[in-house]
């Protein structure tokens, strides 16, 4: 069953910049898909369309059987959970628990039901101890986990993460990968961190100049050096795809 269906999606910004130029993409339920692409490829614009945060110039987005339009926005935003790149933009309530409760409270939850949702989401990301701390006093890794908890608390069908590994130290990066693997049923990972995409997603899509330029198993896409180069992508220096794949099979 298809969790997400994007067809002919175009977006032109008011200054004339054409960020999306006819994107077609289908994501099945339970699939983990990496959206790869250089800076300025339209990745973030695409992500904003998934929650109806921008109005499409042309084309449609459907989440499950619900089409993104003005009257379905509330339902769409419950179904699609977006973890933004900068936790500073996302975390704004006075305590971590309050912030995690912001989404479910917007869904109308109150009292013990709300508290249970918050507690479960914080436990999922391993932040139960920091529930009463102000978010701006946490480390970047903890902030990103708090932002993820705020999204998980809404029980979304699809989790979308924008550059989740940016600015994380290796341990925090590994922790977050484990949490995402355990908690996100259908995952869209927007990134140019190729090893992270390989670790988390079996399928990868390359977005360049507002179009889908390639779509296939992540391992195959990363093995195609020429394809990567054409789209200003490359594996980190010293990274061996064979070793990584062997480690993943083990």
């Amino acid at each position: 069953m298809s969790a997400l269906q994007i067809s002919g999606l175009e977006h032109v910004y008011p200054d004339g910049h054409r960020a999306l130029d006819g994107v077609d993409l289908e994501v099945r339920e339970g699939e983990r898909v990496a959206i790869l692409g250089p800076n300025g490829a339209g990745k973030t614009t695409l992500m904003l369309h998934l929650a109806g945060l921008l109005t499409a110039t042309a084309g449609t987005v459907s989440v499950g059987e619900v089409k993104v339009e003005r009257k379905t926005l509330a339902e769409i935003r419950r179904r699609v959970g977006i973890v933004f790149q900068s936790p500073d933009d996302q975390l704004f309530m006075p305590t971590v628990a309050d912030d995690v409760g912001f989404g479910p409270a917007n869904l109308g939850l109150r009292g013990p039901e709300l508290a249970a949702r918050v507690a479960a989401a914080l436990a999922d990301v391993g932040l139960s101890d920091l529930a009463d701390r102000p978010p701006h006093h946490l480390s970047v890794g903890q902030q990103r986990r708090a932002a993820l908890a705020g999204v998980l608390a809404m029980r979304p069908d699809i989790v979308v993460c924008d550059e989740p590994s940016a600015n994380l130290d290796p341990a925090a990066r590994r922790d977050l990968a484990a949490i995402l693997q355990a908690t996100a049923p259908t995952l869209l990972l927007v990134t140019h961190d190729l090893p992270y995409a390989l670790q988390l997603c079996e399928r990868a899509v390359i977005l360049d100049a507002g179009r889908v330029a390639a779509d296939g198993p992540t391992a195959e896409i990363l093995a195609d050096t020429e394809l990567l180069q054409r789209h200003r992508l490359e594996l980190p220096f010293g990274f061996s795809l064979e070793t990584a794949l062997a480690a993943m099979r083990a």
């Binding site: 509330a74 959970g81 900068s86 006075p94 309050d98 917007n106």
Partner: protein, 253 residues
Amino acid sequence: MSPVDGLYRPGDSPVHRLRPQVKIVALVAFTCAIAATPREAVWAFGAYALLIAGLFALARVPLGWVLSRSLVESPFLVLALAFPFMVEGPAVHLGFLTVSEPGLWAGWNLLAKATLGVWAALVLAATTPIAGVLAGLSRLRCPEILLQITAFAIRYAHLTVAEVTQMRLARLARCDDPRFLWQAGALARSLGVVFIRSFERGERVWQAMAARGYTGRLPLDVGPAPAGALQWSAALAAPALAAGIAAWAAVFA
């Protein structure tokens, strides 16, 4: 300290534990009692000051903090000091100064009431986080639109300060001279940029909120639990005492 925290001093005193809504009502009642006290009843103002000092001690708020935060009333202080020289009336001699007696009383009235009012407000501010104050106001049925405006003003003030701080650090890192007036030029030039950056950041913040189902109404009533009779009676003890003093002073003065 970030503006998000405001004047709040984290703690676990009995004053901290009172629900925000009862503290707000107590503050209003206390301020009314102070305002209603006849200015000639000097002892009553002393009693109020003692009462507030007791509350500060209970909340473990240091004197230095109270004094530095009281600077906000300095414009009123200047006015209070000017009254004795500006108001007409029978003159009295203070050393080598000749001042007007009604002016002296008017100055005293302003000084005493403004200072006590500021201190009473500081008791609330020091023991209640801003979110708590908003939640308490929401509990007291303050109009939603005012709460929204206040909440956003605080949120965006924080963003703007963060932007200015970051830009200042970036200027310092490139050998800007941050002393006194020299930075005014750079600041003036960067004001436009600050505005645009805050605006764009505000937009990202809004997107992040909208993505989590925000439709124009902050769930501010999530936090505050209703206050029981014990909470109300504890919080209203100080204003009740003050009202008693005010009434006494008015009747027997």
